[in-house]
Symmetry: C2
Subunit: 322 residues, 2 copies
């Protein structure tokens, strides 16, 4: 039976899987930190090692994979396997042909897709989005990514669709890590929330957020740090999460007002960590902004969790090979 490899290349970590040819049975997996320096060559090296580790766990050499798929955090050109831009990857300052570089090192043909697109495809085919024809995937993590399934198929527009994190929720509002003002991500992205928390603490506001971070040996305010601070009743954490949820509610409701979709899927590091209770809060925050308020879309949590992106990457690989 054919085996396929999948890579979820994230801003902080790389997750790889090897799955069987029928679909979702994971027979090997590995994880690595995304290099914070060294640009594309360092990233290629890190992916190579993580794919080799997953293949070894599956008991094969990477050359035996029928195909490899990569979900990457930025704009891709699927035809050439090029990652055109990736603002969340250090040193990715110009287009780089990631697919061909991996094929050269690992053997199998490599399909490249956007990370949020492939995670959403996976949820639609194998996870919480089965059975619907239209959905919005919202990946709430370092940034806020989005992807659309319309009429059962991924909608990419001219190639750059899905940037829900950069929908404007507050004209003239907070500065976003992307440099613009008032984006959803400026309020709800983990990176933006961390910068805001840091400024507040520097101004003298009390919070245990950074103590929890250090206790856990983390260098950033990871999802688990936010979750712990909320459990401890930290006022700043609660304030910033409330603010993020309001922004998510407004941005997602705006997307629904425009597209009138059946389902909203909440995934990503923070989305998965906080789970159903937070999805319910996001649905509540959408409610005052929904124009068709008698008929809200369903809001569900992504089911495939941390492996969703890498499993989705195997789906694009399988399509490319068959």
């Amino acid at each position: 039976m054919s085996l396929y490899g999948g890579v979820d290349l994230g801003g902080t970590k790389i997750q790889t899987v090897v799955v069987d040819g029928d679909g979702a049975k994971v027979v090997g997996k590995a994880r690595a930190a995304t290099p914070s320096a060294g640009g594309p060559p360092a990233v290629v090296e890190a992916i190579e090692q993580a794919v080799r580790a997953a293949a070894a766990q599956a008991g094969i050499d990477t050359r035996e994979l029928a195909g490899l798929g990569v979900g990457a955090p930025g704009e891709v050109d699927p035809a050439s396997g090029t990652l055109l831009r990736a603002t969340n990857l250090a040193g990715w300052t110009k287009p780089f042909a990631l697919g061909p570089a991996l094929t050269e090192r690992l053997g199998p043909p490599t399909a490249l897709g956007n990370d949020v697109d492939v995670a959403t495809l996976a949820e639609h085919e194998l996870g919480a989005g089965r059975g619907v024809e239209s959905l919005l995937g919202v990946f709430w993590g370092t940034g806020v990514g989005g992807a659309l399934i319309l009429d059962g198929r991924l909608w990419r527009g001219r190639g750059g669709a899905g940037e829900i994190g950069h929908m404007v929720v507050r004209l003239g509002g907070a500065r976003c890590p992307c440099g613009r003002r008032g984006c959803l991500e400026a309020y709800a992205g983990r990176r933006a929330m961390e910068l805001k928390a840091l400024r507040e603490v520097e101004r003298g506001r009390e919070s245990t957020l950074f103590e929890i971070m250090r206790e856990r040996g983390r260098e950033t305010l990871a999802s688990s740090v936010w979750a712990r601070a909320l459990e401890e009743g930290d006022g700043l954490a609660r304030h910033l999460i409330d603010r993020a949820v309001r922004a998510l509610g407004a941005g997602i409701a705006s997307a629904i007002n425009l597209l009138d979709l059946e389902l909203v899927l909440i995934g990503g590091g923070l989305g998965t960590r906080f789970g159903r209770p937070m999805a319910a809060r996001i649905a509540e925050a959408m409610s005052p902004h929904l124009f068709n308020d008698g008929r809200p879309p369903e809001v569900r949590v992504a089911e495939l969790g941390d492996l969703g992106g890498s499993i989705g990457a195997t789906l694009i690989s399988r399509r490319a090979v068959h």
Copy 2:
């Protein structure tokens, strides 16, 4: 040759046309004010008279029309010809079967669609949207309506898509005529702009807007009133139009960030009145918010003008009949 009738039912006026079966040749037209009291029966009566007038101009009886189409300002059920909700029509407090009522009075089978959808269809087939596969129609008038062409076809979602006017551009911002806060329409809809102008003048701000309105014998700040006030350099008019353009820029850019479309079409009473120079200003206001800022969509003015909606209505009639 078959002739088709089309009705553009707007919040302030009713435009009717009779066109030849091949498409866009208008052989009769008429216009009437939308009744501001009397609910659905009064609207049916007014439409009946305006269709009869257009048919008379074309030299036929309405029973000779091969079909009649209506674009209505609200949510429709095309299958039953029912206008479910229409917040801009006085007294339309519950669903009313507009299509069957018109067929009974006028003769031909009647197809019902959303007004912005049919105007956008018309632009896509016969106007400024010819030749593209994806576009957003923005109808800037009493309210701010929207419609989407994706992969060459109208996207309606679950029936209520296109509500770009109720995308949130400023969380916690201005009150919208719909009752919500921070909607695009709260800043850019003609009705909301008029209410804001009134409040400002009542507070003592100087403006010639309402004098121009009275001089022109109008009861509302019509598009022509705004245009005249801008020509005269009225400060309040300039301020409110600037504010509207900023909101339009943010809302449309948000839609583009989500969908990455080829083209934005600006229509509606204000959009058509202000034409290309204002479309260029809207494109400029979108620019700081576009995530893929090196590849903005084209922004064009709708070409079919005042007749676009009614001609679009004949298109849905033709499809329903054939």
